[in-house]
């Protein structure tokens, strides 16, 4: 009951400009955002590759937390299953198997770092400028609420917006390509006897 009221109130404001309120939910959001961004930043800057993977994990969990905060629980759970249970484990395994996990990565050239930082910052500034100038309007289309039942119907349905599952199955092609890449990469390894 309580939650629904809050949801309705939130939905009306795209950006609650001006009114400085300090509800628990707001604090949690800022906390999650901070965790996500700081971990992401650490993930790309740390020179220890295993730690980078762990920071990435925290960033992904932070994003899952934001999904939870948005009350999109199903997507949050899927985010955790796919990214944390799948991709991060995959990355950690690939680190274990291919890298000298304990060693630090070589220090990057300052020029490259500067260039990358500048490029990213410019891009960020540009996009933020665009966002600030653009006024988003609510669409008249009713979006699908991402509940389990809805998503299931979308996946297997044959009406408008259906056929999601066949589309997702096509992504197996990508997986096949990925595995093919690995196989080819393994073969090209020079065989020294």
């Amino acid at each position: 009951m309580k939650k629904k009221k809050g949801k309705k109130k939130k939905k009306k404001t795209l950006l609650g400009r001006g009114e400085a309120i300090m509800s628990g939910s707001t604090v949690i959001f800022y906390l999650l955002a901070a965790i996500t961004l700081v971990s992401a930043l650490l993930a790309v800057t740390t020179r220890m590759i295993f730690r980078a993977a762990i920071y990435l994990l925290f960033a992904l969990i932070g994003i899952a937390g934001i999904y939870f905060w948005l009350q999109y629980e199903f997507i949050a759970a899927v985010q955790i299953i796919v990214y944390v249970g799948g991709i991060v484990v995959l990355i950690i395994f690939s680190i274990f198997l291919t890298q000298q996990a304990g060693e630090q990565l070589p220090k990057q050239k300052l020029g490259r770092q500067l260039f990358a930082a500048l490029a990213s910052f410019c891009g960020l500034a540009l996009v933020m400028l665009q966002l600030a100038q653009h006024a988003f309007v609510e669409t008249g289309n009713k979006a699908i609420e991402p509940t389990v039942a809805n998503i299931g119907t979308q996946m297997l349905g044959v009406e408008e917006g259906g056929y999601s599952l066949p589309f997702e199955v096509v992504s197996m092609l990508l997986l096949a390509a990925l595995i093919g890449c690995i196989v080819i990469a393994l073969k090209s390894k020079p065989e020294t006897e």
Partner: protein
């Protein structure tokens, strides 16, 4: 503190995206580059979710 809304989400997602871009440019290691790509992908996901959440017509 301002109550979070669409712009907050977009800010997070944009920042994540460019953090990923920064990582992708600086890193010369395939695994770390993959990690950066993951960040970029996640920022896009967050965008989708945010638009779904805030930009649909409320007929309640």
């Amino acid at each position: 503190m301002i109550e979070p809304g669409l712009y907050h989400m977009l800010f997070i997602s944009t920042t994540l995206f460019f953090i990923g871009v920064y990582g992708f440019f600086t890193r010369r290691n395939l695994v770390t580059m993959l990690m950066s790509v993951e960040l970029i992908l996640n920022s896009v996901n967050l965008n989708f979710i945010a638009f779904n959440k805030y930009l649909w017509y409320d007929n309640e």
